[in-house]
Amino acid sequence: MADYKWPDQQHRSYLGKKIDRLDGPVKLTGRAKYTYDYNPKGLLYGALVTCPYARAKVLSVDTSAAEKMPGVKALKVVKTPGTETHWAGDEIVALAAVDERIAEDAARAVVVKYEVLPHFVQDEIEPPKDIPLASGPLSQEDLEDMFSNQVPEGKIADAIKTRGINWKPDEGFFKDLKGYGVDQVVIDALRGAQVKPGTAGPKSPYKRTAVQTEGDPDKAFAEAAYVVEGVYGMPVITHCCLETHGLVAEWPDQKSMNVHVSTQNVSGMAAQMAPMLNLSASDIHVEQQNIGGGFGSKFGPDSWGMHAAELSKMAGGAPVKMMLDRKVEQEMAGARPSAYGRVKVGADKDGNLIAWESNSWGTGGVTGGGSPPLPYLFRIPNQKKQHTAVSCNIGSARAWRAPNHPQASLLTECALDDLAAKMGMDPMDFFLKNIEMTGPRAKTYAEEFKIAAEMIGWKEKWHPRGDKTPGPLKRGLGLGLHTWGGRGHESHCDLTVHPDGGVEVRIGSQDLGTGTRTVIAIVIADAMGIPIEHVKVFLGDNKYPMSGASGGSTTSGGVSSSTHRAAVDARDALLAKVASSLKAQPEELEVVKGTVRVKSDHSRAMTWKQACAKVGPVGITVRGNNPDRTKPPDLTNSGIGGVQMAEVSVDIETGVVRVEKLMAVQDAGLIVSKKTCETQMLGGMIMAVSYSLYEEKVMDPTTGRMLNPNIEFYRLAGLPDIKDLRIHLHNTQEQENRGVIGIAEGAVTAPGTAISNAIANAIGVRVPFMPFTPGRVLAALEEHGQNAMAGGAM
């Protein structure tokens, strides 16, 4: 019987080691081809006419001049007269022409008349308190909101019964709910629910959701020895993928389509495109070897991708490339929902957290968006919370690395940090005092706090709020903690051992630069006991076995589990074929560093190549699956976490914040590819430095347009912003035993909180909203009359 357990320490040549990524050379030499680089013969270039207004009704669309221009091959009116648009950047017309300049000229030649309608884009304003509770039918988003806010399932079922739902769930939806462990009472309520589709959106931009009370918060606050109230928040930011969204579609004949697409979801793309094109998913061939960033924003074909598919068909099947330009990309191809909150927390005289109250709000676009799970991590016994979804005329929200977590972490852990400051307590001591409230992970967090504190020198450097050092430069320390799931997704692969010793695996996954190829090669090489050079990884093609979308840190666990099982099975099949030549039973054999040998007698051996030559002309091909209950154990797991600590310097004369140090301690299950794992973690931390200090989708209240739809004014952190960043992987034996868990989301959550807390520690006042720009820092100092601190410099 095959042993599917992960190899033990003695059998790890690559697993957990620092291996150079497989696709390094091809990317470093500019040879890696991305969707944007695909230039087939006869390529047509797509362009979009987009709406300049935040909200408008299309009155007329005149495409006659554009259609007459030489070189324009296909044109499609997307928003016909009478249609309403909901954000600046919404597509009105899509067209394709023989070169990009002509396509752009043609787009400019389209004349669209609009009736401009009122809009709303100011999500940072605190909503009024007396908004009536939503009573209309529930949307899928409402339901997700309730799940993420841990609303009791009986209450969810009641809401479904009284309010109805606005869509008709199919069996797949119920199956998914079951898969997520949703109680049958909710599923039954949904099955019996009244479906009231097409209800008009709310007239007010505000919709109260997720109102919930636990325990007796009023009494707890009355009894609390210490109470603080503060406002915290972070604005909408964009994904700003360096490769914009888009695809190249071509129709070799009327009944099939080839698509090169920039996506996190190679296997799932065809099924999304097929129905709208009257094709079967099996008629669509999807390919992608490399992707220039996704971060949660590239799971679907997107409306413009569908336009490209239709334009290609209209143009006789010629390939049409529709990559968004940077402006449109920033306007509508990805936004992380904002979150703001007025938060009150209370503790007893010993520093035990006893009460929480939050009124949070934020926008994810016109539909409002999700609400952060509050309070984050700490299950405070008495809670009162409500969230207001703000409908804004901006491009729709998309998942952004660790959806809702950075927001929840900031709103919760900044409030706790303020409470610690009020009590005159070191926040690390305060967090540790209440760490049991984080549940089963408490012990791990406590260990991680100690390691992080040593890395940054917390005990030596920490001071109470307000650095009293003379001069304008103030330094401070702050901390944050986070959690994520990260269980491996569904994944299948085919693995072939060729008679010449080569091993290839075909898997419908994708490598986002996270190291998927490298992870797979490491797993297979160690499971088979062969040099990694023997393993060739083929991915990025939907004709390979289905593997899940890369979202929610699910890829490493998924692909490592499926390929590991396939590798073990293929190895055992090989051993069964060669056992007689070594005068042994298959189970007496092992493969070590490319040698097949008898465990008890290493002289009875042959090379891997010699062994493979004995398997016959077509080699061995096996399928690997995850999950696979017939082949225990479960090789992946859910639940990672970590602690991060930041040291900042703040110039109180200029308001400039610098992140001097950022230290991360992360538990991550069994590490497969240590090098890419560390890079992925550091990447999350750097993205967090970037959003903490610079990033904001700046909306103009008057015109409703994004003021910085580019890269010069939508600032990203650069090399000068990144100083001393270090990570410690807390991979104890206990952690390793849990199997492979994805880590991508975790690292991006805590640093923003740690940086905010460090700034408060440095300058003595809280800067409420990200990004912590000089203007916001100076305004906070001004408001609290703390600019007198600069006196030391005089």
Binding site: D20, L28, T29, G30, L719
Partner: protein
């Protein structure tokens, strides 16, 4: 070709068509576009287009020709006409550095320059540095220090870094941070780039 030659009106009175014929016959002479010359404010001004014009670029040691509208950027010419797609289009307005190439050994943003203006210069793209089988020291340092993720900014970073370390072999890390601040990465690979820089120059902190 020096600046003086470039500015020289290519034979006033000679029609574009005639010039093209001549250019087509004398292949040994680097081909340049044939601007019309207009007298503006007392000075001769070269005017290209708006129609397509033959553009000849010296890229990675080879002469490459394409008929392009004068408004085509060097980046788009490289990517679309010559299929040299290692230089990436990201911001498309000279901010992020993903399109960095060398113009006579000096790193420039290829999206911020017209192809016609790049004529007569020696252009080096990432494809001209090395092949995957035979990487340069900068590329090896990036690989070993895992200074990349999605890889979209990577060719631009390699071009900028190689130019920087060759010009500043004794730079400090702080110098390098500033020197390479014209290139941006979204995945967050700067720590790996720092390590690669240290490996390349033996540079110290500060």
């Amino acid at each position: 070709m020096n600046e003086e030659d470039r500015k020289k009106p290519e034979g006033s009175g000679l029609s574009r068509r005639d010039f093209m014929k001549i250019g087509g016959m004398t292949l040994a002479v680097p081909m340049v576009a044939s601007p019309k010359v207009l007298r503006v404010g007392g000075e001769d001004v070269e005017v290209y287009g708006p129609e397509k014009t033959m553009v000849t670029l010296n890229v990675n040691g080879k002469l490459m020709r394409a008929e392009l509208e004068p408004r085509v950027t060097l980046l788009d010419a490289l990517r679309e006409s010559f299929d040299l797609t290692g230089s990436k289009r990201v911001c498309d307005r000279a901010t992020c550095g993903a399109c960095t190439v060398w113009l006579d050994e000096k790193p420039v943003y290829a999206c911020g320059m017209l192809a016609i203006d790049a004529q007569g210069h020696k252009i080096t793209t990432i494809e001209g540095i090395s092949t995957p089988e035979n990487m340069d020291a900068v590329q090896k340092a990036f690989w070993e220090n895992d200074a990349q993720q999605c890889g979209f900014c990577t060719p631009g970073f390699v071009m900028a870094t190689k130019a920087f370390v060759e010009k500043n072999p004794h730079a400090t890390l702080e110098d390098a941070r500033k020197g390479l601040s014209g290139n941006l990465c979204r995945c967050g690979t700067y720590v790996g780039i720092h390590s690669a820089l240290r490996q390349l120059t033996g540079m110290k902190e500060a």
